[in-house]
Symmetry: C2
Subunit: 280 residues, 2 copies
Amino acid sequence: MLKKGSFRVNNSYIRHKTYHTDGRCRFISLRIVRVMKTQTENGPAYQPLYRQIKYLITESLVSGEWRPGESIPSEVELANRYSVSQGTVRKAVTELADQKLLVRHQGKGTFVASHSEERTKFPFLRIRPDRGDVESLSASLLDVWRIKLDKESAAALGLTEGASGWLIRRLLSPAGEAAAYEEIRLPVSQFEAISESIIEKHDCMLYSMYEAAFGVRILFVEERLKAQQAEGEVASKLSVSAGFPLLVIDRVSYTYGERPVELRRSYCNTAEHHYRNRIL
Amino acid sequence: MLKKGSFRVNNSYIRHKTYHTDGRCRFISLRIVRVMKTQTENGPAYQPLYRQIKYLITESLVSGEWRPGESIPSEVELANRYSVSQGTVRKAVTELADQKLLVRHQGKGTFVASHSEERTKFPFLRIRPDRGDVESLSASLLDVWRIKLDKESAAALGLTEGASGWLIRRLLSPAGEAAAYEEIRLPVSQFEAISESIIEKHDCMLYSMYEAAFGVRILFVEERLKAQQAEGEVASKLSVSAGFPLLVIDRVSYTYGERPVELRRSYCNTAEHHYRNRIL
DNA sequence: GAGTGGTCTAGACCACTCA
DNA sequence: GAGTGGTCTAGACCACTCA
């Protein structure tokens, strides 16, 4: 989360200490500065207080001090814990909420975002039916294989060629027709105990399963889209003839620290569906 | 910009007035409340102060009081103008900067965002070459036609069938090969004086031209993607054979007030290019 | 009524730009 | 050195939730 940069070291912190003459402890702030310095190797670094707080909150999320779906301490409590003002905590929490790591509910508290509790079954899916209701899509598992990852897949996951992986295959369907066929590749190292039964227990909602069963929370995904002709097994899985134009989506899913943990290729029949995107 | 909602009317504003007993004018705040009330028809409305300020700033952008590329008044000046604190102005400006209507530069000022000054030639384009440098793409104009808008296009632009429109056709190319063929439809009502020469004077950078020549600033776009087989003229324009799989992008471009002002269909050859997307 | 997040203020000082 | 946006504080009160 913490961006490494070329921030100049200056006296701001020493001066910062002198703001407060009411005898309150300032050790925590000093410690934060030291943490940040060791975090950024190449040269001295400066980060505003609220980013340091943001980093500390993220650490607590990664370590599991606060788990998905649970509430984190109130802003006042966090302000005390880190010895900063509530406004500074707010700014840190706001950025984490913008990144969808946290969810705020006025009057109730701030919660760790969770794929299990979100109403959307497929949080990052941009495929929509051309007409009809928003979420009629459901997933059905085809099979699960233990494989050796090829060079390209292994590299994309930060592993070496031949590392053990899982290959999950499934269909996305609106009703009878299959809208998409998907191949998902995962490193066995992080998803040891995957099986067909555990996937079906989670209704084939993979991100929710990663989180609940393996403690791996997906934060964002990156996709590359191409148009390609259907061939062989893919064509038959989607019940289209060879040469039929498909939308092929290559997705990499990332967890904390921008670490890639899942590869996914989706072959979509866009005869009655489309991929929706809004660009700011 | 202003979201209509079911905010409860309460006494917050009356109490708010009593915060300040230093004799400063509060008429402007009161006027703001009245403006907001008339803006939202269905029932009484309440919006926090910073959103009301945001709305007033947006009005000044729409009216052209501050033009693209120019700086707007400093936060202190705006705070005086609206009789609120600098923090409240900051919050309004922050939201507008997040929406990319404004751009902040520390030490220099806050500027109205402009497509003419942005370094990216195609601000909303997600097509990238699979390998090679980031921005080798360039556009070349094919032709410009004056047409009657068909029912569907007219409806998408909020016009009636048969309304006058422009049809602009162009190619996007990396080097020799054409990566995409595009058809752009515009209402004549808002783009009266379009011609080949004016487009070429702007290097075929359309959004920049809309802004500079017609005062229409595009704020965001919505896209629907499908895979489709190349046919007839499109195939020949892209030098591919009939049946070649193309990525077809239907885009609607919006200006202030979420008003659609441009339709665009792009046919992309994704043999050596892809559509990139990051989802949070 | 107590506790949560949300808004707003006034004031201080920092980082950066430019003349 | 003056002016800009950026950070941080302390304190007040509002909107909302829940018991």
